[in-house]
Amino acid sequence: MTDTMNDTVVPTIHGSPPHPLREFWGYFSGNHGAVAGLAIIVFVLLMAILADVLAPYAPDMTNTSVALTPPFWQEGGSTSYLLGTDAIGRDILSRLIYGSRLSLAIGIVVVALSVISGVVLGLIAGYFRGILEIFIMRVMDIMLTIPSLLLAIVIVAILGPGLMNAMIAVALVVLPHYVRITRATVISEMSKDYVTAAIVSGAGKLRIMFSEVLPNCTPLLIVQASLGISAAILDAAALGFLGLGAQPPSPEWGTMLADSREFVLRAWWVVTLPGLMILTTVLAFNLLGDGLRDALDPKLKR
């Protein structure tokens, strides 16, 4: 076992090279920050999946007789509401646990939307070039010039406030990054021999685009997607805070914060805890993204 572990770090001259996944893990696990990020993400993910089991109360159950109860370690707190309650007596812990579902869903939906449309547009631009490429890239340039939160706010103002519209707005705002990455990689891959070989052996356009070129764009896209999830969670929470994202009584963390802002002077926990969850989750995805970039980027490996 020790021998194989050593192989992952220092490949010996004889014997077969390590499996790519094993090699990847060798680099990735050397980065403590990235491993910590991964651990936090797994924790939040478990919280989201097991919310029904873990949460002591329903997220929207109110009990005004215990309104603004402090967390259990403070005077006046009680162990039946571990992290205290908000202004209308909802259990903060339960709302935070259910909120993890929303935040992860936001991150994943936004990134899925923007990666899928960004990859298709980037492949088209990089493969067909010409007028189509100029058009797509100019539109993306224009989108990049408009400040991202302003653009998201305008889109939400048009579509109307709400979680779904906020997710669409954030996905649109981050789209140009994926288009640019995909196009740049496609253009550099297209001149390589394996593509020429595929063309000579009669592969169709779609086959070359999706099953030959696309897999070689994935490392960069994975890194960008991981960093994209953190940006999406942050932007959606900001929209929620401005009253333009998820609407109350939804336990979305940004909305929770905005919802109880007026009680900040009397009850620090109603504002501090949801923000702490946003910070921890966003930080975890950023750590993971940095670690993935170091492990997957061949330039940095050397």
Partner: protein, 335 residues
């Protein structure tokens, strides 16, 4: 150089058209027609409605309407607020100095701390200081700034009572706006108490708005410095026996500055959008808070005009940054 100028400037025109298209269709995508949206919840009777449609030219084809809109925008007419009935451009101009003052202070804060921190971290690579700077900057980069603002208010304003909670200056001071920048205006009137009040009101918003750019600038400076420190000419400089300070300050730092300048330029757009959140938290009377209020009041002309103005300003600043960059770095010009 001329060719570079032309290509860069030609990109501005489609971008401007794109922005006007967004602003123009914004009000048409809102449910109901623009007159109903303008009339708001009070409603409007049918004859007045028809008369207004003709008055605003809304009975004409869409393309003609867009042409008329562009004509009005280019002559500086962005409509009037339906809440205050003041022209959008005047409201914007009255509030914009507050936003610039805050953004400039935040930019200074980010530069004065971010660049030295990045340089020291790079020079002492893998030291405790380096790990500390990288950890703090990653946290700053991940920080939800609306929460950060509330935390700072809770600690410094409520707990310690050091700084004011919100606003731009204590109400007892009355300052006639000359430049619109309170720090300058109070000094012009040589009103010391008012100056310190304005400065105290600026501290927390500056920190909050500057946190994100600070994190980005520190990270960028560090990686630019690390790259430059590995170059051959640095080894040559060291081999010549130059003092370490001279190598870092003169040979490395000046070359590391080029990528940093670009990042700083890009942060200006970030500062203006960050101002939307920061101004909302601190009730800072700038354009960001004004835009958010416009959304909640359904004041569409303000939203339409304000978005266009802010977009054009960020676009112009980005253009200027690109042009300066082209001047200081000849390699960019020729590609």
């Amino acid at each position: 150089m001329f060719r570079f100028l032309l290509t860069r400037i030609s990109l501005v025109i489609p971008t401007f058209i794109g922005m006007t298209l967004v602003a123009f269709f914004l009000i048409r995508l809102v449910p109901g027609d623009p007159i109903e949206a303008l009339a708001g919840e009070r409603g409007i009777d049918a004859t007045r409605h028809a008369a207004l449609l003709v008055e605003y030219g809304l009975d004409k084809p869409l393309l003609t309407q867009y042409g008329l809109y562009i004509g009005r925008v280019l002559s500086g007419d962005l409509g009037r607020s339906i809440v205050t009935h003041e022209t959008v451009i005047n409201e914007f101009l009255a509030l914009f100095p507050a936003t610039i003052e805050l953004a400039l202070c935040a930019a200074l804060f980010a530069l004065l701390i971010g660049i030295p921190a990045g340089v020291i971290a790079a020079v002492n690579r893998n030291s405790i200081f380096d790990h500390g700077v990288m950890g703090i900057s990653l946290t700053g980069y991940s920080m939800p700034i609306f929460w950060w603002g509330l935390l700072l208010i809770l600690f410094f304003s409520v707990q310690l009572g050091w700084t004011p909670v919100s606003g731009r200056i204590a109400v007892i001071h009355f300052i006639e706006p000359t430049t619109g920048f309170l720090l300058v205006d109070t000094l012009l009137e040589s009103d010391k108490a008012a100056f310190w009040s304005a400065a105290a009101h600026l501290i927390l918003p500056t920190i909050v708005l500057g946190t994100n750019p600070l994190a980005t600038i520190a990270r960028m400076t560090r990686s630019a410095m690390l790259e430059v420190l590995g170059e051959d000419y640095i080894r040559t400089a060291r081999a010549k026996g130059l003092s370490p300070t001279r190598v870092v300050a003169l040979h490395a730092f000046r070359n590391a500055l080029i990528p940093v300048v670009t990042v700083v330029g890009l942060q200006i757009g970030v500062l203006f959008t960050g101002a939307i959140l920061t101004e909302t938290i601190f009730s800072w009377p700038g354009v960001g808070k004004w835009l958010i209020e416009a959304i909640h009041r359904r004041d569409y002309p303000v939203l339409q005009g304000g978005m266009l103005l802010l977009g054009v300003i960020v676009m112009t600043v980005n253009l200027l940054v690109d042009l300066t960059y082209g001047i200081i770095n000849p390699r960019i010009r020729h590609t």
